[in-house]
Symmetry: C2
Subunit: 402 residues, 2 copies
């Protein structure tokens, strides 16, 4: 095959794209809130206390940078009632909250959320409050409960996440754009990959290409793993040099206006070994099988569960005797978070996948001390429209470099 | 004053430094564990269940990248009993855990921590377990309790954090090295700052200089804010150009072997306005007063509380009539986390600061829609040795560029 070139892939997003996406979010937010309120009403609850940054952005517009929640205190946490949206902000964030969440009431907060809880709950007339129990700390839960025993806290899990798993068109556009940024970056990097370059050098170069090629940031730290290191599914790049005659695995993603991509390619530097080619072919077959299963289901207007798509890939790897070398799930949803619903795994819920949704398909085979291969694409799955699309456009063929 | 040059500051860490620090961590870990175990024994508890990545690294050696905890499931969570250290790892992390935490027993885990909780607690003979309640989710707490009612969960907060606030010599070395990486990067950037360059461009350039100048990563996303944007204490860089005759605020830090720096400089591009110079002088005086208060206390072998050091800076800003324009605290501890104990603020505990410790001193004055000034240095505070050291070496004088 011809080695991919940068211009094989879509160009970076433009200011007009960003403006369109901002408008789309603003237009979509009332419906997002309405779905949350309908669920509150159905469960007999008055309000929803959110602490997860992705949910805050999705429902209120307020944005924290990646990892900024660790220093932001309670800023960005939010409360949605039947007719009110409150964004909490300490003095560092009040101006920003007013700009980014113009539809919300910005309420001052300190590091002591419980101290203001009585007034806050009373201000929206809440007596039974849904709380994001998977994200609020146990200490905060206990403090809120102790501060205002009259306000009942009800643990809820995955409400906003289930809604986020169903992607709006402008959300898909941003994931597609993030995929293209990553595709172009890897295509640009290919001619620079030679034995001797280190994992860290190549990871930094790939990051630079994404960050200067349309990404506002990374989806996650770039993994670049040479030879036997590729057997670590979540390994980090080090000073290890690229090895002639061995695999070189890149797992990386870009962030475009908050939305993320995630792709893995396992390349060959120098003449591949027969074993490595065999493992590659097996993983490619397994990945193709899961994607084809998704395509077939969508074409029939059907939505399988995440367990069956996992099984489509896993069955092939197990049949080849490598089941124990594929420990993780086949895929995960992606959007404002790198890992979100739905899950494609052995323990995924036996319920139909959301529609439309975007997930990764990323089986791998890991031989400790020897080699590792993973191939990962993002797939848009839209059975209602009988449509699927591989958002990652980079080829999956064997690529031999150097 | 002479404009700072890159070589005014210490060179980047060497491989020998990294090897020395790794050895120091390994040598220090038994004492860290012994202090935790002494506290467990004093409280009549059998084991400590940790979920915070910084604590896992500190006590076991296992490392997650920044933000990686969001995709790592339960990997990296750990249990310390009287004679055992367990690191949990799913299949993606088992090889890494074995390497990084050779003193620990690596136990397989899934996304369902509660499912393995009975066996895990029994394997260390735990009946009363301290749990990091400020970091474990309420949902996890409830699931563990429901899964094994016989094992009592006891909420603890800040145990490992209090220990981490007291810095070992090799920890201080790494913070100092991270400061030097940041100092050099800003000195290198200075000649490139001109009206017309955008905040985002300068932020990316400063990041590049740190990442290629000895940092393994950033401590946090670079803030570069021009003119009125500097009034946002946690603002993010945008496409706004540097403004002639206005302030340009950089808040940034490097990460060296896990340890972080944090500094803020407010520069002037073109002729400063009298108002901006006045605000700068006020903030510089306030910052100097807090540092001098720390120096005087250390020289006398005394450890004040974080409230009094905050008051030293705040009193000056309040006396100038700008109290309401300085909403945040004066400083925070720093180390494996960007914000950690001790706190220098109006609500800091009225107990002596730990010794030796490292904290930021960063008062600011923010005039919405007009301007903002913050000056931030890291200070090593060691009253036992009657010693302080400004780890940030970059000058605090007014610097006019362009």
């Amino acid at each position: 095959m011809r080695t991919p070139l940068p211009d094989d892939f879509a160009p970076p997003p433009t200011p007009a794209d960003l403006a369109r996406w901002a408008a789309a979010d603003e237009a979509a937010r009332p419906a997002r809130l309405a779905r949350l309120r309908a669920r509150l009403a159905a469960e007999g609850l008055d309000a929803y206390l959110g602490v997860r940054p992705e949910n805050s952005r999705y429902l209120t517009g307020f944005r924290l940078g990646d990892g900024e929640d660790r220093v932001a205190g309670n800023s960005g946490r939010f409360l949605v009632s039947g007719d009110d949206v409150v964004v909490l902000a300490d003095s560092r964030y009040t101006i920003q909250a007013g700009r980014e969440a113009p539809g919300a009431r910005v309420v001052p907060v300190t590091y002591d959320l419980a101290a203001g809880w009585a007034a806050l709950a009373a201000s929206v007339g809440a007596r039974r409050v849904a709380v994001e129990a998977g994200f609020v700390s146990h200490a905060t839960w206990v403090a809120l409960q102790a501060a205002v025993p009259d306000v009942e806290l009800v643990a809820v899990d995955g409400w906003a996440e289930a809604d986020r798993a169903v992607k709006e068109p402008a959300e898909v556009e941003r994931i597609r754009a993030a995929c293209a940024v990553a595709d172009r970056a890897l295509a640009t990097l290919l001619p620079e990959i030679r034995p001797g370059a280190t994992e860290s050098q190549l990871a930094w170069r790939l990051e630079t290409l994404m960050r200067t090629g349309g990404a506002e940031g990374l989806a996650f730290d770039v993994a670049c793993l040479a030879g036997p290191e590729a057997a670590l599914p979540h390994g980090s790049p080090g000073d290890r040099p690229v090895i002639d005659g061995a695999v070189l695995l890149f797992d990386f993603g870009a962030r475009v206006d908050g939305y993320r991509s995630d792709m893995t390619r396992t390349l060959f530097v120098g003449e591949p070994s027969a074993r490595d080619l065999e493992v590659y072919a097996l993983v490619a077959r397994a990945q193709g099988a899961a994607i084809e299963a998704a395509e077939a289901a969508a074409a029939a207007g059907e939505s399988p569960d995440g367990r069956s798509l996992d099984a489509a890939a896993r069955g092939i790897i197990e049949a080849a005797g490598h089941g124990e070398h594929f420990g993780h799930g086949t895929g995960h949803g992606i959007g404002l978070a790198t890992h979100e619903l739905p899950s494609l795994s052995r323990v995924a819920p036996e319920t139909p996948l959301p529609s439309p949704t975007v997930f990764s398909v990323e089986p791998g085979v890991y031989l400790e001390g020897e080699t590792g291969v993973r191939i990962e694409d993002l797939v848009l799955f839209d059975p209602a429209e009988r449509h699927t699309e591989r958002l990652t456009a980079f080829p999956r063929d064997v690529i031999v470099l150097g």
